[in-house]
């Protein structure tokens, strides 16, 4: 036995901590420019798992999540996905960011491993693989709501687009362009910014020169810097965006006054948010909540399989998800397809508060 353990360790194979432990995987950006979100996603998963384990686990089985750092790089993600599935035999892998998720999606189908995305919103994720589930709506649904609100309710007829030059940003640009023009508006100009770059000024100046009613922004980091630079150029347009504007630092920034955005509804009880802050020293904001919810969805599926006496495999997890269909996590998450439907709100930042403008129930 000792010899087997030694050989296994020498080959880099970790033996299960306990026969009762169910291992899941997560490939997230834990270093690099995207780590600001990746680490929050990691905390959300770990918080949900710790909570369940503290109560005795899922049907008596402890849950362990093996985290791997992909730095938001698609090629690195593929290697790490293979490592988790082939060496650690995990039945499910949490993922974030559109590019890495899309890179792992074909492998998930081939290896029949459930890939669980709780934060990325590129439309291509919707049908990327039968084994990729999205516990957050893709961007098209959100931006359809935004464009309709802007044209029909707010009377904004012209727009310009500032987008992050990556999979999520380009998808956001295309979605908004299609939805805004379908709603009767006109897009006057569009400008990209490199991922991680917070110098938006040249692009903002160029977009402002076309005098749009609104500038739609789809960026994942640096929204407080964006607000400062919008104010500095004395912009006359309204800045609009999606759930990415729910950044507490942006909401607290006086220069973000009037920023209008869609918000995928997800709320946490006050006690839970306080416990999270005590544990990690950061707010229980949008991304940890989403990944807490994603982890809860997976653990409910695991529980069903264990109660039914079925092995916890990716194939069985997917079947359980489709059978359960409606999950009562931090928000009601309904899987009519591989992508969840949830309530979307229209919000506006005023007086350092994110205020509700309109509720749009799930279709």
């Amino acid at each position: 036995m000792l010899r087997i353990s030694t050989i296994a360790l020498a080959l880099g194979l970790a033996l299960p901590a306990s026969a009762q432990t169910i291992r899941l995987g997560a490939v997230l950006p834990l270093t690099g420019p995207a780590a600001v979100i990746g680490m929050q996603e990691q905390r959300g998963i770990q918080f949900a798992v710790d909570e369940v384990n503290a109560k005795g686990g899922v049907a008596g089985h402890k849950i362990e999540v093996l985290f791997e750092d992909n730095q938001a790089k698609p090629d690195q993600s593929v290697l790490l996905f293979n490592k988790l599935v082939d060496l650690q035999k995990v039945p499910a892998v949490f993922t974030g960011y559109s590019g890495p998720s899309l890179a792992m999606a074909p492998l998930a189908g081939r290896k029949k491993t459930l890939l669980v995305n709780g934060g990325a919103q590129a439309d291509a994720l919707d049908k990327a693989s039968p084994y990729l589930i999205n516990t957050i709506p893709v961007l098209a649904g959100e931006l359809d709501v935004l464009a309709t609100y802007l044209v029909a309710d707010a009377g904004k007829k012209t727009a310009a687009i500032l987008f992050e030059n990556n999979a999520a940003g380009i998808a956001g640009r295309d979605d908004f362009l299609g939805s805004f023009e379908k709603a009767g508006g006109k897009v006057l100009a569009q400008e990209p910014v490199p991922f991680g770059d917070t110098n938006y000024r040249p692009a903002l100046l160029k977009l402002a020169a076309t005098s749009p009613d609104v500038v739609f922004v789809v960026i994942t980091t640096g929204t407080p810097q964006l607000a400062d630079q919008v104010r500095q150029i004395d912009a006359k347009f309204t800045v609009v965006g999606s759930t990415f504007f729910s950044d507490p630092e942006l909401i607290a920034n006086p220069n973000a006054e009037g920023f209008t955005h869609t918000q995928v509804l997800i709320n946490a009880p006050e006690g839970m948010a306080a416990a999270f802050k005590t544990k990690y020293g950061t707010e229980f904001d949008f991304f940890p909540k989403q990944y807490y919810n994603a982890a809860t969805v997976v653990m409910i599926c695991v529980e069903k399989l264990l109660k039914d006496g079925k092995p916890v495999t990716g194939e069985n997890l997917l079947a359980a998800l489709k059978e359960i269909k409606t999950f009562k996590g931090l928000t009601t998450t309904v899987f009519n397809t591989n992508t969840a439907a949830t309530q979307i709100n229209m919000n506006r930042i005023n007086g350092k508060q994110d205020n509700l403008l309109k509720v749009i129930p799930p279709k």
Binding site: T31, A35, V36, P192, D197, T198, A203, A209, P224, Q232
Partner: protein
């Protein structure tokens, strides 16, 4: 007035880039080591100043603490890493790889200590704007221009008017001759690393004051600065500074005629063609 706003933005960015280029030029021309970890020292300066500010130091003192810390780190890198590798006969490629490794260590340590969040200095005066000829500039941007010009003039004065500067140029010009004429090149290397590292702290603080502080923020700016150093002519302080201004202005003004996706590619494409005709750079014979 879009062109004027873009031109001024380009000049401001060019001054920040110019400070990085001048500091890198001083080090590269003298040591011939491709000091990639300069990007990490740039980042370190910003975080040291940020910490000093959060501990209640006034802005000028925080900047000074950052400058001193970066200078010391630069000297230590030279003494404890590059000099040892050089003495043991390591090739410049090995030193480059060591520098890359050190850069990763510093940047990831910064991310571990300060998180990868984009941090803000939170100095409201930095964001206040002034109208200049119809264009808006923030106080931070105006400070960047001021420090950029002062840094360039200071580097020129140092290189041409001081004893150490003259020793530095002699070492850069002929290391072997400098050795046998007792100019002590290794001491010069340490001094130049300290001065270059102290200098890069200034844009390391001013750029994040404007755009936010990120642990990996130094990498793209160093890459562009390196191109300015090479296209300007290795060893030419004026070449590095002027080319940094030209690159930044071209990148900004190109937005007038093309979408941003093409801006960086076409700007650097022009430099590739330029290098074909002047492979030793603009400011060398």
């Amino acid at each position: 007035m879009l062109w004027l706003n873009l031109l001024l933005n380009g000049l401001v960015w060019g001054c920040a880039l110019g400070m990085v280029a001048v500091s890198f030029s001083l080090i590269f021309a003298t040591t011939r080591f491709f000091h990639v970890a300069h990007a990490a020292v740039y980042g370190l300066g910003g975080y040291v100043a940020w910490s000093a500010l959060k501990h209640g130091l006034p802005e000028w003192a925080a900047l000074l603490v950052g400058i001193v810390a970066c200078g010391a780190v630069g000297a230590l890198i030279q003494k404890l890493l590059y000099e040892r590798l050089d003495r043991s006969g390591a090739t410049h490629l090995v030193i480059l790889i060591a520098s890359l490794g050190l850069s990763a260590v510093i940047q990831n340590s910064l991310a571990a200590v300060y998180t990868s969040n984009v941090l803000q200095y939170g100095l409201p005066w930095g964001n206040r704007t002034t109208v200049i000829g119809g264009a808006l500039l923030t106080n931070t941007q105006m400070l960047t221009v001021g420090f950029g010009i002062l840094s360039y003039l200071g580097a020129m004065w140092f290189a041409h008017r001081t004893v150490l500067g003259k020793r530095m140029r002699a070492v850069a010009s002929n290391p072997f001759l400098a050795e046998i004429t007792r100019l002590q090149p290794r001491q010069v290397h340490i001094a130049v690393m300290a001065i270059g590292s102290a200098l890069v702290c200034i844009p390391g603080v001013l750029v994040p004051l404007d755009l936010g502080l990120q642990p990996f923020g130094g990498v793209p700016i160093l890459l562009t600065a390196t191109i300015a150093v090479i296209a300007g002519g290795v060893g030419s302080i004026s070449g590095a500074f002027v080319l940094a201004l030209v690159i930044a202005v071209l990148q900004n003004l190109s937005l007038l005629v093309m979408p941003g996706e093409w801006s960086i590619g076409i700007t650097f494409g022009i430099f590739v063609i330029f290098m074909l005709f002047r492979p030793r750079g603009l400011f060398t014979g």
